[in-house]
Subunit: 343 residues, 4 copies
Amino acid sequence: MSDRIRVGIAGASGYAGGELLRLLMGHPEVEVVHLSAQSHAGERLSSVFPHLPDWGILEKTENVISWDDLDVLFCALPAGESSRIVKQLAKPRPMIIDLGPDYRFKDPEEFRRIYRMDHGDPESLSESTYGLVEWNRTEIRKSRVIGSPGCFPTGALLAILPFAKEGIMGEGPVIVDGKSGVSGAGRGLSLETHFPEIAEGMKAYKPLVHRHAPEMERAIATLSEQKNEIVFVPHLIPVNRGLISTVYLPAQSGVSLSVIEEVLTGYAKNNGFVRVLDRIPNSSEVRGTNRIDLHATVGKGMIVVMTAIDNLVKGAAGQGVQAMNLMMGIGEDTGLPKWSNYP
Amino acid sequence: MSDRIRVGIAGASGYAGGELLRLLMGHPEVEVVHLSAQSHAGERLSSVFPHLPDWGILEKTENVISWDDLDVLFCALPAGESSRIVKQLAKPRPMIIDLGPDYRFKDPEEFRRIYRMDHGDPESLSESTYGLVEWNRTEIRKSRVIGSPGCFPTGALLAILPFAKEGIMGEGPVIVDGKSGVSGAGRGLSLETHFPEIAEGMKAYKPLVHRHAPEMERAIATLSEQKNEIVFVPHLIPVNRGLISTVYLPAQSGVSLSVIEEVLTGYAKNNGFVRVLDRIPNSSEVRGTNRIDLHATVGKGMIVVMTAIDNLVKGAAGQGVQAMNLMMGIGEDTGLPKWSNYP
Amino acid sequence: MSDRIRVGIAGASGYAGGELLRLLMGHPEVEVVHLSAQSHAGERLSSVFPHLPDWGILEKTENVISWDDLDVLFCALPAGESSRIVKQLAKPRPMIIDLGPDYRFKDPEEFRRIYRMDHGDPESLSESTYGLVEWNRTEIRKSRVIGSPGCFPTGALLAILPFAKEGIMGEGPVIVDGKSGVSGAGRGLSLETHFPEIAEGMKAYKPLVHRHAPEMERAIATLSEQKNEIVFVPHLIPVNRGLISTVYLPAQSGVSLSVIEEVLTGYAKNNGFVRVLDRIPNSSEVRGTNRIDLHATVGKGMIVVMTAIDNLVKGAAGQGVQAMNLMMGIGEDTGLPKWSNYP
Amino acid sequence: MSDRIRVGIAGASGYAGGELLRLLMGHPEVEVVHLSAQSHAGERLSSVFPHLPDWGILEKTENVISWDDLDVLFCALPAGESSRIVKQLAKPRPMIIDLGPDYRFKDPEEFRRIYRMDHGDPESLSESTYGLVEWNRTEIRKSRVIGSPGCFPTGALLAILPFAKEGIMGEGPVIVDGKSGVSGAGRGLSLETHFPEIAEGMKAYKPLVHRHAPEMERAIATLSEQKNEIVFVPHLIPVNRGLISTVYLPAQSGVSLSVIEEVLTGYAKNNGFVRVLDRIPNSSEVRGTNRIDLHATVGKGMIVVMTAIDNLVKGAAGQGVQAMNLMMGIGEDTGLPKWSNYP
C-alpha cells in the first residue's frame, strides 16, 4: 500500500470530481488520501455521492495548501481557483493535473483575454503542458503541470488533428457543432438545468463566444502546423452523459474516402482509446469509458468527422488519469474502463 | 355543418397523420370525413390514437381512390405512395396537400434521382407548388397540389431564405446541422428507435446523403436567386418532439449584427408564426405549436442562425393546414396553435 | 370584452401559474387583468414563460391586496401564503380559487396539525369548499372560496370515491402508490430536481408522511360515508408532466369485475372529463388535458384502480378553472382541453 | 488461461445476455468460449453489441447442444426454451444457470399452470435450486442447476424475507408495487417500447396477473415459514435501467422503527451487496452494480420497504454470476461491480 501513488482531489464534490473518485478508487496503483470541497466541506463522501462507498470527510478547499504528502494533486475547480491554490503549495509541489482551464494556455495574457481575470500562477505556465494525451505524449511524460483539455475541445481536436497533421485539411474555418449532456453543465443549480426546463428540450448556447473555441484554436496551432479558425456552437441535450461533435473540415481538393480511411486506420492503431467505426458513433456506446468513437465521411469539399465521448471520462476525469499514468510511467490505460454497460 | 371544408387523410395512423387529426378535428372550418391507414385499417381511431376522441373506423388506403366527396385530401404516406394514389383519383380532384416528398420537385427526373423510384404522377407536377408558406404565399393561393416541405428543410429554409433574399449571404456551402426528436423517425418499429437504444444516446445519421439536402438546394434556387450548396448532417436526439437547426451561412463581408436584426425584424412582422428572439430558441418552447422561433448572430465571416420548430406541427401537419387555409381563402392561422403547454 | 370574467393570478411564475395562464388566456369568457410573482416581480411575462405571448409586467405578490377590480382571484402560492393575502382583501372579495392547501380543511386546527403553522384566515374556512368538481358540484356552485385539491389527492380520490359511495369497498387501509412527473415538485431549484440527479432515476419520497394523505382521508370522510385510512407513498419519476396512481382498495367479498364495470360506466356517463378505459391508462395520453383516464380490476380481495392525470391540469390549474366555470354558471368544460398532442 | 471457468451463453444478444457478457468478459476467473443467438446468429458480437470489444461470431442457439467443453452454461432465453435445450445436453452436463423461468419451480405442474406450457425438462427440476443468493446460499453451493430469480421477485423478496424470517410480518396480502425501466421489457421490438410511445409516459401493466406474483409467493413459502398472498402491480417507467419496489407488508402489532432497523442492520452485515440506507433508495445510485439499496419505515399497521436494483445486474446477469461464484467456490463478489458511475 505504501508504494501507491498518493493522490488528492481539490473540488471532489462536482461531477468531474465524482468521476475522478470512481476511477481513482478503482485504480490499482493509487491511494486517495485527501479530498476537498467547498459547500460540501465537512460532509462524508457517501452523503455527497450516494453511488460511492464511504471514504471519510471532505476537507475545505483552502486546506489543499497544507497537503504536503501527495504525489499528485487533481484540481476540479472553477476557472481561476486552481492556479490560486497551486501557487501557495510548498515546494517541491506534487504533480498537478488541472481539469479546469488555468493551465491550458502558456501565455497569461491569452488566459486573461479569454477568461477575463488575471492568472493566479503565471510563473508555472512555462512548465505546463496541454494534456491531450493522444497528441502530446512526449511532453506529458516530462511534465509536472498538466492543463487537461475541456470536454468540447477533446471531442473536436481528436477529430481535427489527424487531418491537420496529414496536411489534407484545406484553409478556411472549421465548424464544430457540439452536443453535450447536462452533466457537462456541472452540479451547480440553475433554472436552465432544472429538470422540467431542459427535459424534452434542446438548444444551442453561447454560439461563437464559448471559451472552448480559442482553446481549440490554440491547440491546433500548437500541435499541428495548421492555423484554421474555429466556428464553434455548443448545444445542450437532455441526456445525463455524453458529448458528440460534428466537425466540418475544409478538404484539400481530391481527398477521397480511401485517403481518410487510411489516415484513421493509422490513428486507431497508435491510440488504444480511439475506435474508428464504419458506422456513426452514438454517445451511449462510450458511456462510462475513456474511449472516443469516430467516423468520417467526405463530400461537397468537406470532411465531416463525427466523434462521441463521455464528457466526464474522456472529456474530463479519464483523460486526467490517462495523463497521470504517463507521468508516473505506468501503463497508459491502467484503471481506465474501455467498455461499459449498455443500454 | 354542410359548409365546412370536407377533408380526408390518407395515412392517418402515423405521427404526422395523428397530428393532422388533432389540428383538423379542432379546426372551426373543417369536417373530417374520411381516414385511411394501411396496417391499422379496420381499427377504430380511438384504439390507434389513444389521445384522440372516438371517431370511427379507418378505411384501407386503397379506398382513397373512391373518396369523391372531399374538398381537400391530405396525404401522409411514404415516398411514392401518394402520387400513385392521386393519379387514380377521378377528376375534378380535391385539392391535394401531400406531406410526403412526391410533389416537392417539379421535375420527375429530379425526384427519380433522389428517391430512386419513378414518379407515380408526373403530369401533376407542373401544377404542383412547394408549400413553404412564408416564402410562397402567392403561388400556394393559386395552387391545387401542394408538396409540403420536409421537417428539416422547414427549419433550415426559414433560417436561410431571409438572408438569401436580402443578398447578404456570401458564396460557398451552407452548413445545416439539424437535430430532431425521435417522432421524426415515424411510428414504424426499428431497433434504432427502440427506447433503450436511443434514450440517453445521441448520434448523427446519413451525413451528407440525406434526401432533405437536395430539397433544400432546390428550394433555395427556386425561392431566391442564390445557388449555395447545402452540407447537411441530421442528428437523432432522445426527445419526443422538436427539431432545432443550427445553420452556418457564409456572410457577405461587412455584415453586422444590426443588419441581421433589421432583416429579421421585417421577417417576423410579415409572418405571424415567425418569432425572432433575443435569446436562443429551445425546442420545448414551440412544442405543439405552428411557430418557428429564431435567433441569429454573426462572427468569423459567418451568420449563424438557430431555429426551433415542432417537427410534427410546423415541420409537417401544421404547415399543411396553413397551406390549406391559404388555398381556401380563410385566415392563415385558423385552427393553428401558436402557444402551447410548458414544461 | 367588458362582460368577460376579470381574473387575477397570485403566483403566476410557477408551473401551476403558467398552466393557469395558458388556460385562462385561451378561455373565451375570461380576461386576465392582473398577475403577480415574487422573485420574478417586475419582469415581463414573456421572459418568465417563453412559451406564452407577451402580456406585460408581473406585479409583486403584495400588490394583490390592492386588486379591487377582479371577479376571480386564483392563488398558486406556498402553504400559508394565500390565506394571509386573502384575509387582507377588501370586501366584497372576489371569488377565491386557491390551488394551495389553505382552504382545503374546514378546521383550522386540522390545518395547523398537518402544515405546522397557524392558519392565516380561519374565519373564511366555514364558507370554503373542497374543489373536487366531480364529487362536489352542488357545493361548489354555491361557494365563493375554493380549496382546490392537491394533485395526488385528485388522482387517488377520483379512483376511490366511486367505490366508496357505492358501498362495495371493505374496511381497512387503502394503499395509494402515486407516481409524479418532476413538474409536480415545482419550479424552485433543488439538487433533487437538477437534471442529472433525477434523469434516469426514480425513487419514493416522504413515505407515510406526505401531507396529501390526511387530505385524502378528510375528503373520503366528507364526500362519502367511508372512513378508511390512507397509506400513501408518492414517487418521483423522470418525466415532465403526468401523475399516475395505483390504488389498492379492500373489496367487499363477492365484488366481481362486472360490478366494477357497472360502477364505472355510470361514473363516466356523468362526468365529461372521466374516461374509463378497457386498457391501462398511460400518463402521456392525458398530457395537456383536463381528463382523468381510469381502469380497474379485482382479485385477491382487492379492487386495484389505476388513474392517469396531467398533474398541472386536472391536478392543479384545469381543476381550478373547472370550478370557476361552475361558480360562474358557464359550461363546466369551457376553455378546458379534453384532447391534446401525442406523442 | 486453461484453468479458467469455461462459460457459454445461450441467448447472448438480448439485454440480459449483453450484461452477462460485460460481467463475464471482465471476470478474472472466467473464459467466455461460446455464445449463441437466434436472429443475430452468424453476426459478430461487436455488431450486435456496439459497447463491447470484438469477440467473434455468435452461433445458432440450436448449436448449444453440441457445446461439450463448458463448465457453466448460462441461458438467457424466453420461457420454455432453456429447458428444451438443457434436456438435450450430453451428460455430464455443465452447470446450468438459467436467467429465465424454467428452473424456478420444483413442480412441473406449477410451471405449466403459470406459463401455460409443458415443462421441457421435468426430471431436472428435482435437482434445481432457486438462485436468490442472499437467502439460499447453502443450497446454491451444492446445486448444479439454478433457476435465477426474475427482476421483480429479486427486488421484492429481498425486501420481504428479512421481515418474514424474523416473524414480525403479520397476516394478509403483501402489496408489491414495482417500477421498471424499459430494458426490463427486453430488446424485442414492440409499439409499447417504441421511443415516442413511452418516453414522457408511465403506466401499469398486467395488474394482478403478472407471472412474477406466483414466483414471489412460491419463494416466500419455500424460504420462510410465511404464506402471504402477493398483490403485484408492475409499472413501466421511461428510464433505461433500474427497478424500484415499494412493498407494503402487514406489520405485527407493536413493531417499531427500532425493531425494523435492528433486523436490517443484521441483514446488511451478512450480505455484501445489501446496503441499508437512512434515506430513500434511488435507482440511479445502483445502476451498473450488483447492489440492492434498501430503506424501510413503519406506520398505520404497515411496514413499507423500498428497494432499488439494476434490473439487468442484480435483477438478472449479476445475480446469476453471484450464484456461479458460489457454485465454483470462489469469492461471492468476484467480478461483480459494487459501485458505478453517476450521474
